[in-house]
């Protein structure tokens, strides 16, 4: 028992038995393996590409694309560059995702609440919906709507005709297109002014309630203001907008707004499929609020509406929001199935057509993945922040 100082004890430690040394060695090995792996595949990729005569780099983005795209939100034709196809595809992905998220949220909340209805039949109906649609592959649902339903619609000549202004046929849904003229900007200004006024009034109402204890009606006056103010402005500046109606010319419709069947099928399938998952999220969120909370609210004399608005929904939303965001993310990623029916989304246009024409597999897949990855990582960072904030409040 001579040497018991810590320093000497450490000196006796054999090199390999020190966990710090081991951990450094393991980690160096891991880095080495990862680096070696990447060097190997990069090396292979370079030599393979050389053998096939593929040039590397992003220069191809400036080359002219030479193909048309079915639906474009920004100006595009064959003369635009490959880089532009990326933008067009990206915007189409955004379009279908935003619309899908909007519709799936509405449908999902309705079904989720119906699932908890006291009415046995309604609750059963909702759960049958959920069990059917979430257990069938999304791609199959897309095919069903596209090939079995929309392809069976009549030709443009025999379109379903709603009041001579809306037409539905195998080529898509044709609607009148509102075209703004000079002075329409005033209507926009009026709309934003209405929103600003409503926000101000809502804030004032809260203060007023805290000060006096009294409330005044908000919902219908706000709604009136939101619709009324832009409408009045519209007529004051002299109705600066007209509707352009679709007309049948030859075999197809011209003018007006058209929703292509690919978009309809994709939207239907994404909405119906994701709504089944959102319904489950909503149901479990509401069920996560203990029954005692409702009882306590009732015992305090809150009305049914107040109970929901002040007690149940705030607590349920905490549980609902993280998985709901996850579903939104899934919907966005799933919108890439568009490529199977030819809706021109990012994967279909860029990782499909552009890739086939240029052969720049590495660059294109990299760019495509980067888009989805950025979206996912941003969302999960936001969710982490949200969860932390909630956790702090709970303390």
């Amino acid at each position: 028992m001579a040497n018991q100082s810590n320093g000497q004890g450490k000196a006796k430690t054999s090199f390999w038995n020190d966990p710090a040394v081991r951990s450094v060695v393991f980690q160096l090995l891991a880095i080495g393996a990862v680096v070696a792996f990447f060097l190997y595949i990069i090396n292979n990729a370079l030599s393979n590409m050389e053998a096939r005569g593929i040039t590397t780099g992003f220069a191809f983005l400036n080359d002219s694309a030479g193909f048309g795209i079915l639906q474009t939100l920004v100006p595009f034709d064959e003369t635009y560059s490959y880089g532009r196809t990326f933008i067009v595809g990206l915007l189409n992905t955004v379009l279908v995702s935003v619309l899908g998220i909007f519709l799936a949220t509405i449908l999902g909340f309705i079904i989720g609440i119906a699932r908890l209805s006291k009415n046995w039949l309604i609750a059963k109906l909702a759960s049958v919906y959920i069990e059917i649609f979430r257990n069938i592959p999304l791609l199959l649902q897309i095919f069903f709507w596209y090939f079995a339903v929309l392809r069976a619609l009549p030709s443009p000549r025999d379109s379903f005709n709603f009041n001579d202004s809306v037409f539905f046929n195998v080529r898509g849904l044709y609607m009148p297109e509102p075209i703004a003229q000079d002075g329409f900007g005033a209507v926009w200004i009026a709309l934003f002014a209405a929103i600003a006024i409503i926000i101000g009034v809502v804030r004032y109402e809260k203060k007023y309630q805290l000060r006096t204890g009294k409330t005044f009606p908000l919902f219908f006056p706000s709604l009136g203001l939101l619709i009324g103010l832009p409408l009045i402005t519209y007529f004051i500046v002299g109705s600066p907008m007209y509707l352009e109606y679709p007309e049948l010319k030859g075999f197809n419709f011209q003018n007006g707004m058209v929703v292509i069947p690919e978009l309809i099928a994709l939207l239907l399938a994404l909405t119906i499929y994701t709504a089944a998952f959102i319904a489950e999220v909503v149901r479990s969120g509401i069920e996560a609020v203990p029954h005692g909370q409702s009882e306590a609210a009732n015992a305090l004399g809150l009305t049914n509406g107040q109970r929901l608005r002040l007690i149940i929904i705030p607590q349920a939303m905490r549980v609902i929001i993280p998985p709901l965001t996850n579903q939104y993310l899934n919907l966005t990623k799933n919108s890439s199935l568009a490529t199977a029916i030819g809706y021109p989304d990012l994967v279909s246009v860029f990782a499909g057509t552009t890739l086939n024409q240029t052969g720049q597999a590495v660059e294109i897949i990299f760019m495509t993945m980067a888009v989805y990855l950025t979206l996912s990582l941003t969302t999960s960072a936001l969710m982490n922040w949200y969860n932390k904030r909630i956790a702090l409040i709970e303390r």
């Binding site: 393991f26 006291k118 257990n135 069938i136 592959p137 095919f143 069903f144 392809r151």
Partner: protein, 364 residues
């Protein structure tokens, strides 16, 4: 002191019990609910009646060509005539017994695992995860014991769907376990590598992964090392799936209290022994519902392989629909595929729910 005499029980008001009471409480509470009930009941009755008439009473089932269909209802003749192809793909007819044998072993494994009283469950699980895939490979691919080699481009239909899903799960489990341990490791670099891997694959859609596997993988391999299309798809699916599996495993690991590791350490067990003897056996049990759920998701997602040109169940039906002899039966075709997928997914999700409930009660 007076004696306590319980009052005799009175019957409840007649309209609160029995069928009438149940209907009042669950179907006709108030006018709004009553209207909803009536509307829903009418829709259901009409829908079911139409579907039964179309799909059953007015439908034709047996035959060989489309002329065997009357056209009044569904034409299941299309399914009947092509059924073998939908299940076995383009497998040579003489060798189909091999697939049937594989299905039989698989079913035997799964059923014996689901029955509670089966002895030596651990060994059966091990066989399902290790032995069965090896046997299936030789059954499908051949090349051993004089079995004729069947190239992978002849695999298709439900068989291919199952092959992709099962390989995806079985191969991703060990990778997922390692990644999950890595993500919980105290070594910053190991942890970062695991996190980057997991978040990368979870962040991108499966389609881009499949595209990557089919167009980029050949570039990454050294020249001469050719892989077939199925192999590339399997690699893509496995890499994708292992990230999801890692998160399931991590969830299971997190549920094991820290005291378990401490007790094992106090007894002198090393890290790997602690993991494999104490933590993982407990965590794996908790993970089964999660694994089944990812399996369901993967099973549905296997249909995406049609985009890179493999003929899974959906793809083979889709291509049959384009057969000029059978144009116009897409509804029947899709309903058939949907039904096949639905049966698998629904029964698996029921199983995982039941398991979850059982775990919840037994862990009190």
């Amino acid at each position: 002191m007076s004696e306590f005499k319980p009052l005799p029980d009175q019957p409840p008001p007649p309209n609160t019990v029995g069928l009438v009471g149940w209907m009042r409480a669950h179907l006709f509470t108030g006018p709004v609910n009553s209207v909803l009930t009536v509307i829903a009941a009418l829709i259901i009755a009409w829908g079911i009646a139409w579907f039964v008439n179309w799909g059953l009473f007015n439908a034709d089932f047996i035959g060989t060509t489309r002329d065997d269909c009357s056209g009044a209802g569904a034409c299941w003749v299309f399914i009947y005539a092509r059924f073998d192809q939908f299940i076995y793909g383009f497998f040579p007819e003489a060798e189909i017994w091999r697939i049937n044998l594989m299905f039989f072993i698989f079913a035997a494994c799964i059923i014996s695992m689901m029955i509670e009283k089966t002895p030596k469950k651990g060994w059966i699980a091990l066989f399902t995860l290790v032995g069965f895939p090896i046997i299936s490979y030789y059954l499908l691919n051949g090349g051993l014991f004089g079995l004729e080699v069947v190239e992978t481009h002849k695999w298709g239909g439900l068989t291919l769907t199952l092959v992709i899903a099962v390989v995806g799960i079985v191969a991703s489990l060990p990778i997922g376990i390692l990644l999950a341990l890595g993500r919980r490791s105290e070594m910053p670099i190991i942890r970062s590598i695991s996190i980057v891997y997991i978040e990368f694959w979870r962040g991108v859609p499966l389609i881009t992964v499949l595209f990557m596997a089919s167009v980029m993988l050949p570039l990454f391999m050294s020249a001469g090392a050719e892989t077939d299309k199925l192999m590339r798809a399997l690699i893509g699916v496995t890499m994708f799936q292992s990230a999801y599996m890692a998160e399931v495993v991590r969830g299971g690991l997190q549920a094991i209290p820290k005291g378990q590791t401490e007790a094992a350490q106090a007894l002198g067990l090393s890290y790997w022994k602690t993991m494999f003897l104490i933590v993982l056996p407990q965590a794996l049990k908790l993970m089964i519902p999660g694994i089944v759920n990812t399996f369901i998701a993967l099973f549905k997602d296997t249909s995406l392989v049609l985009i890179i040109g493999l003929f899974d169940l959906l793809a083979i039906v889709q291509s049959a629909l384009n057969d000029p002899n059978w144009l116009g039966f897409s509804v029947e075709g899709y309903i058939f595929v949907a039904f096949m997928f639905w049966i698998f997914c629904f029964s698996m999700s029921r199983y995982s729910q039941a398991l979850e409930r059982k775990l919840n009660t037994s862990h009190r």
